[in-house]
Symmetry: C2
Subunit: 591 residues, 2 copies
């Protein structure tokens, strides 16, 4: 269809344009028929302009306008006019003018959409995803997509300015599953062989350091075939960064520079100082390696209080290298027995044996603890609990005890639950960034009875801990770090092993045989033999970061075409069946 292309967008006209003859193209957003006059809000990405069909001004256009329905696509020609006094709309940028239509061309008709194109409409997410192309017309989600666009540009400009080289790494790579499952791609040319989609460009970026590219970045799609949790996508976007001849502090400096720009340009906020906690500190204080620092509610380790206790539960715990962790719930001393049962169930469901609670009371004799276990504690212990937790009358105390990491993690979840109950996270709370450092290098898996790399097998141990890698792996800390924003990990990285000997030691500690290491990572280990520089890097979860910056609660709100939690695209029904011929060519069949 031939049509007049626009002279202006729907967000552009102002009082200075009054009297001009303009052409606008856009969608019918709303339509009001006031007897003789028809008012239409014409919408495009840039805004809304009111256009007016008046029989006296142009009878033909007015009569054609009777056919218009919501979401019709039209081209109009008309004259910009000052809106009659009192009819201005200060809510929109074009609100002081409208356009008297001379000529109307309908570019495309539209069926009634399955949901109105409005922000405040509550539609099931499944319907929204099926008609994503209509959902994307809603201003709130367009705003997210535009913010994401801005983030891409800010990120790249920043790294470009800092001498990083953008390099595209392969999407069709070798399958080296270590951690999550790979997505596989059967090869047609090589029967029985497969490519894998990258879980991250980890090995390539390390090779680029071996190549001497010095500073690398890429905003890149990665893939993990996991059983999806609510906020995961089978394909996700990562800001991938690697640097040579640096130490941890250089990575921190570069990342803080980026966060400073994002805080300013997206939120118009100055970057606060970013505190650092070691993994051990974070676990002891917040029961999490990604603590939300928008509220305090710190946990306190009470082992020192019970060094000489007669209370068997605590005594056993201490003897077994366990932990006794306490949490103060200020002003909750009047919680009912029922409320306390609910909280006990909460931690039990997560795997706790039970929950110890104590009410802090003001008695004639002084401050006292009232609790089922009170009778097992000495007066001094009770006094020390109160002092350690800075408890006041009217407060409630929780204590959990058992194996260290598990207990701290349980208490961390109770901490979050109490924060929700006490409404400690205000919607307008200042965002809180945090570095968590010195992660354990290994993670013990009870099920398979072996150690796994907590980050990945290329992470360098702290140099002073290398000596324990064989004898006491649990003791070894990694030169690994996470950046946490409002309780979400938004980036994680490490200084890498750049030495073939240490890398071999690492594979050995992970129970990866020489043959397996050679088959899977041989090219990387070989590369290290030709002069690898010291290097390290970091990767940002771009989707999650965009979600937080957009103030959304789901990453699907910042992804143009997301998949569901079962990895389906509701819009086009992918994945789908394919021709038997396609499978034949790929030398595979369904089993």
């Amino acid at each position: 269809m031939q049509f007049q292309t626009r002279t202006n967008t729907c967000g552009e006209l102002r009082e200075k344009n009054i009297g001009e003859n303009v052409v606008l193209n856009g969608w019918v957003d709303t339509r009001r028929d006031l007897g003789g006059l028809i008012f239409i809000d014409l919408r495009d990405r840039y805004g809304i302009t009111q256009i007016v069909f008046e029989p006296g001004f142009n009878a033909e256009a007015h009569s054609a306008a009777a056919n218009l329905r919501n979401e019709f696509v039209i081209s109009i020609e008309g004259k910009v006019r000052k809106r009659p006094e009192g009819t201005e709309n200060p809510a929109i940028a074009t609100g002081n003018v409208d356009v008297m239509v001379n000529k109307l061309v309908i570019l495309n008709e539209a069926k009634t959409p399955p949901f109105p194109i409005k922000d405040e409409v509550d539609t099931s997410e499944d319907i929204r995803l099926k008609y994503r192309y209509l959902d994307l017309r809603r201003p709130a989600i367009q705003k997210n997509i535009l913010m994401r666009h801005k983030m891409y540009q800010l990120v790249r400009q920043y790294f470009d300015k800092n001498n990083f080289v953008e390099v595209e790494t392969p999407v069709l790579m070798k399958s080296t599953p270590e951690g999550a499952r790979d997505y596989l791609v059967p090869s047609r040319l090589h029967k029985g062989k497969f490519y894998a989609l990258p879980q991250s460009p980890q090995q390539y970026k390390q090779l680029l350091m071996v190549s001497g590219l010095d500073r690398y970045f890429q905003i890149v799609k990665c893939f993990r075939d996991e059983d999806l949790r609510a906020d995961r996508q089978p394909e996700f976007t990562q800001i991938d960064v690697e640097m040579s001849f640096i130490d941890q502090k250089d990575i921190f400096e570069i990342v803080e520079g980026l966060m400073k720009i994002l805080f300013k340009e997206i939120w118009n906020k100055d970057l606060p100082l970013i505190p650092k906690l070691t993994f051990d500190e974070a676990m002891e204080k917040y029961g999490s390696d990604k603590p939300d620092l928008r509220f305090d509610l710190e946990m306190t380790t009470l082992n020192h209080v019970f060094e000489k206790t007669e209370f068997k539960v605590f005594k056993d715990s201490i003897n077994n290298y366990g932990i006794i962790s306490g949490l103060l719930a200020p002003g909750c001393g009047e919680y009912t027995r029922n409320q306390l049962d609910v909280l006990t169930d909460f931690v039990k469901k997560l795997g706790a044996g039970g929950l110890i609670w104590m009410r802090v009371k003001e008695l004639a004799a002084g401050v006292e603890l009232e609790a089922p276990i009170a009778k097992f504690l000495s007066d001094e212990e009770k006094k020390n609990i109160i002092t350690s937790l800075k408890a006041k009358p009217g407060d409630l105390l929780f204590i959990l005890t058992g194996a260290k990491l598990k207990t701290l993690s349980l208490m961390g979840q109770l901490r979050l639950e109490m924060a929700r109950r006490l409404e400690l996270i205000k919607p307008d709370a200042e965002p809180k960034l945090l570095w968590v450092t010195d992660f354990p290098l290994f993670e013990w898996d009870e099920q398979t009875k072996r150690f796994y790399a907590m980050h990945h097998p290329f992470t360098s141990p702290r140099l002073e801990d290398v000596q324990y890698m064989q004898a006491d792996p649990a003791r070894v800390k990694a030169r690994a770090y996470d950046l946490v924003l409002n309780g979400s990990e938004i980036a994680g990285g490490s200084i890498r092993i750049h030495d073939a000997v240490l890398q071999a030691k690492m594979f050995k500690a992970l129970g990866i045989s020489d043959d397996e290491a050679e088959y899977k990572f041989g090219f990387l280990m070989n590369a290290f033999k030709f002069g690898a520089p010291p290097h390290g890097g970091i990767a940002f979860g771009f989707d999650r970061m965009a979600m937080i910056f957009a103030g959304e609660n789901s990453i699907r709100e910042v992804i143009a075409f997301p998949k569901t939690a079962s990895a389906i695209s509701l819009m086009d029904d992918a994945p789908s069946t394919v021709d038997e011929n396609q499978l034949k060519e790929l030398h595979i069949k369904i089993r």
Copy 2:
């Protein structure tokens, strides 16, 4: 290994730094042992700095330097010094200074690389690709990677500045093979179903227009499982662009703006005016839809000369709607019979029935044509050939005749061959851009006896040609265009069909049944029913464009980790076999 991080890069020191104490990190590029003194060129991405080990300056460092070999990674501390007069090296930016080394730390040793890290080294491409991480250390290829980096930034800045929104489209999508083969990804969660990797984000970008995003761009990886020709990669990079409410001229304007920037920033050239040729003109003049305009050597259609000919070959051709195409080879009138046989073989191998040639001679009677077929031609015909081709004595003429497109394409290849023989493409020739427009909408396939979409099934026909879509598909031209640079297509696009009825008509013309269309493209056709704007776009082959801008002859020279022509990564041996367990989980087996 703890080490001193650098104070400066190896490309940074100048005379103003003389006297400073500096730390440099880098690779040993070359090492010269001059009796007592050891000179090392220390290299990183930023340049080369000469460092000097002198026993009198620091004996310990000097003695440690004896162990250094090429490609060792080292950290040195030392004092910047003015080079002794006469030893300056004007070839490098740091050539007026060197660094007297106080302290040497070897960060990593290096085996002898399989080829020297030099540009001028002639190594087989297979070895280069196997050790790509070393190949990437060579200055020439680092330069290409850095140029590619710069192109990414220029492209994105340009589209951002022009209000385009960058949107990431899915990599795991629905298989809709129409044209090349899809790469498939088996789904673990949905037995017997598959994702496909995108051949292009075509459908998504059209949906984004339906969403009202108005202007979209993305630099994006695409995938085609083709039998690879020399200069194809299974995964390739595309600059993908789509615009709403526009016509062809708006696309041209946006693209020319981009080319102007690339010409300036990469080549420091002003963009020449970009001529436009229709597909028919390009074929008649150059025998190609991507003619190389760096030289003339135009072909000439001679049908008008032979309208009343008695020569059976030409007469039959004209009666069968064929073409008679002539090419002038200036100054080649003395080609030997043997040379002419070689050229005849050349076109015969490409599928020609034969090659007609004529020598242009200066005889007493005037200019004459000397040729085996001369006796079949009238004097007037001979005169008209000479006039039409502007032939002069000493020239050679070629004539091919037969079915139009095939004959023109053959003559186009002869044209390129003659250009090579006549050395018409100078290495320093000015680059030539060209728009080719009005492509046929359909392409007839002899083998399957059906029409295919020449671009893709979403391309709009010229509006005046819609009436012929059923009755005479071959006559229908598309609103499709290609951008050609130096004889390579670097971008192609079209105005799209935005109307569900016309789209259905298109599928019908392509022999795609309603059911098949619904299954494969139903979501797109549905989307068009909810108010699709007129839209169109273009996609650039980024790898090829980078290759031309880098002055290379293979796209592998501008891709960090390319695959071979049989889609293998020689570095890591992808594709490779995978665990039987992985296949089980994916519900597939090798057949």
